[in-house]
C-alpha cells in the first residue's frame, strides 16, 4: 500500500504518540481523585427549621418548664468518614467562648455530648429540645440547677448569671483522631487547625426564690 511509505509511517507514529499522550492524560485525570476543601458545617436551626424563631414567642426570656425546640446539624465535607461529637456547654456572660485563633475550647462546663459517625457529604440533623427544669434566685443572681435536653435531665453546678441575664448554650464540634485515639476540638485540614462552634444566648429572669 502506497500509504505505508516511510514518510507516512513516520506520520502515523507521530499521530499515535500524540494520541497516546492525550488519552493517557485523560485516563490519569479520570482515575486520580480531585483534592477538595475539607471542612465541617455545624448549625442550629429554630423551631421551624429555619435560622429564625429560636425562642418561644420570640422572647429570649425562658421560663422554668418552657420547652425550646431547635435542630442541631453537622455536615461532613472532609472527604472521609468521621466520628464527630457535639459538646453542649452552658456559659454566662463572663465565661470565655471558644477561641478561633488558637483553636481552644470554651472553659464552660460540659453538660451533654452527642456523637455520630458521618460519611463524606452526609448531613446529620437531630431535634434538640431543651427545658430549664429548675432555677433558683439568690442574692440577685440566678442559678440554673437542672436542664433537660431531649427528655434527659442534667444536673448543673455553679451556673450563675447576674439577674438571670445572658446565659448561653455553647455548641462545640469535636472529632475523633483515630491515630491518637483522642477527641480533638475542631479538625485539621491542609495542616491548619480549624474549629466550628456556635452559641445561643438566653435569659432566665423568672426563677423560683430560694
Amino acid at each position: 500500500m502506497s500509504f505505508l511509505s516511510s514518510q507516512n509511517r513516520r506520520t502515523l507514529i507521530t499521530v499515535f504518540i500524540t494520541l497516546l499522550i492525550v488519552c493517557e492524560m485523560l485516563a490519569y485525570v479520570a482515575t486520580t481523585p480531585r483534592p477538595q476543601e475539607q471542612f465541617f458545617q455545624l448549625y442550629v436551626l429554630g423551631a421551624h427549621h429555619m435560622a429564625a424563631d429560636y425562642y418561644p414567642n420570640n422572647n429570649t426570656d425562658i421560663s422554668i418548664g418552657e420547652a425550646v425546640a431547635w435542630y442541631l446539624g453537622v455536615v461532613d465535607n472532609m472527604g472521609s468518614v468521621q466520628l464527630v461529637s457535639v459538646r453542649v456547654k452552658i456559659g454566662n456572660q463572663t465565661i470565655k467562648p471558644p477561641d478561633d485563633q488558637n483553636a481552644t475550647e470554651s472553659p464552660a462546663p460540659l453538660v451533654a455530648e452527642y456523637m455520630r459517625v458521618l460519611q463524606d457529604n452526609e448531613t446529620w440533623e437531630t431535634p434538640f429540645v431543651w427545658t430549664i427544669t429548675d432555677a433558683v434566685s439568690t442574692g440577685g443572681s440566678t442559678h440554673l440547677l437542672t436542664l433537660q435536653f431531649n427528655n434527659e435531665t442534667y444536673q448543673l453546678q455553679d451556673r450563675t448569671a447576674s439577674g438571670g441575664h445572658n446565659f448561653r448554650l455553647i455548641f462545640e464540634l469535636w472529632t475523633l483522631q483515630p491515630d491518637t485515639d483522642t477527641f480533638q476540638f475542631g479538625w485539621v485540614a491542609s495542616g491548619e487547625h480549624r474549629v466550628a462552634w456556635l452559641q445561643v444566648w438566653f435569659n432566665m429572669t423568672s426563677p423560683r426564690l430560694a
Binding site: 500500500m1 500509504f3 507516512n8 506520520t11 502515523l12 499521530v15 499515535f16 494520541l19 497516546l20 492525550v22 488519552c23 493517557e24 485523560l26 485516563a27 479520570a30 482515575t31 472521609s80 468518614v81 468521621q82 466520628l83 488558637n102 483553636a103 481552644t104 475550647e105 455530648e113 456523637m115 455520630r116 459517625v117 458521618l118 460519611q119 463524606d120 457529604n121 452526609e122 469535636w174 475523633l176 483522631q177 483515630p178 491515630d179 491518637t180 485515639d181 483522642t182 477527641f183 480533638q184 476540638f185 475542631g186 487547625h193
Partner: protein, 173 residues
C-alpha cells in the same frame, strides 16, 4: 564535667553547643505541641475500639470503597455508639450485668466493623487497581484506533484528490 570556675577548653565547647541545641529544640517542640496537646482529650466516654474501626474504615475509603459499601459499616458503628451511650447511662450497681453485656456487644460490633473494613480494603484496592489498569489500557486502545482512523482518512482523502484530478477537464477560455 565542669567544676566551679573552670574554663572550657575547645573540645568541650561543641558538646555544650550540641546539648544547648537539643534542649532548645525540645523546648520549641513542646511549645509548638502545647496547643495540640491542650485541645486533645481522652476518649473516655467511648470504647477504645472505635478509633481502630474508624481508622480501618478510612483505609477502605482510601482504597476506593464506594459510599454504599461504607454506609453499611457506618450504620454498624452508629449502632455501636448508641449501645455505648446506653451503657454509660447504666450507673446503678444493679445494672452492672446489663452494662457489661452492652459493652461486650459494642466490642463485638467494633471487631466486626474492623474485620469487614479490612476485607473491604482488600476488595476495593483490587477493584481500584484493575479499574485503573483498564482505564490506561483503554487509553492505548483509543490512541491505536484513532491512529488507524487517521490513516484511513488520509488514505481516502488522497484517493479522492487523485480521482478529482483525473476528472478535471481542460477547457479553452
Amino acid at each position: 564535667m565542669l567544676y566551679g570556675c573552670d574554663y572550657l577548653n575547645e573540645s568541650q565547647l561543641p558538646q555544650i553547643h550540641t546539648k544547648l541545641a537539643i534542649a532548645l529544640g525540645i523546648v520549641i517542640l513542646a511549645v509548638m505541641l502545647l496547643p495540640i496537646l491542650a485541645i486533645s482529650q481522652s476518649t473516655g466516654t467511648i470504647e477504645p475500639g472505635f478509633a481502630g474501626a474508624l481508622g480501618a474504615m478510612r483505609q477502605a475509603e482510601m482504597a476506593g470503597a464506594t459510599p454504599s459499601e461504607i454506609a453499611a459499616l457506618v450504620a454498624l458503628l452508629n449502632k455501636a455508639l448508641e449501645l455505648n451511650g446506653e451503657a454509660l447511662k447504666l450507673t446503678a450497681p444493679g445494672d452492672a450485668n446489663r452494662r457489661t453485656q452492652l459493652i461486650s456487644e459494642v466490642d463485638q460490633i467494633l471487631i466486626t466493623v474492623q474485620s469487614q473494613a479490612h476485607d473491604l480494603t482488600t476488595i476495593a484496592s483490587h477493584r481500584s487497581s484493575t479499574n485503573k489498569a483498564l482505564t490506561y489500557v483503554l487509553g492505548i486502545v483509543a490512541a491505536f484506533v484513532g491512529t488507524i482512523l487517521f490513516g484511513f482518512s488520509v488514505s481516502f482523502y488522497r484517493a479522492y484528490r487523485i480521482k478529482r484530478t483525473f476528472q478535471m477537464r481542460i477547457t479553452r477560455k
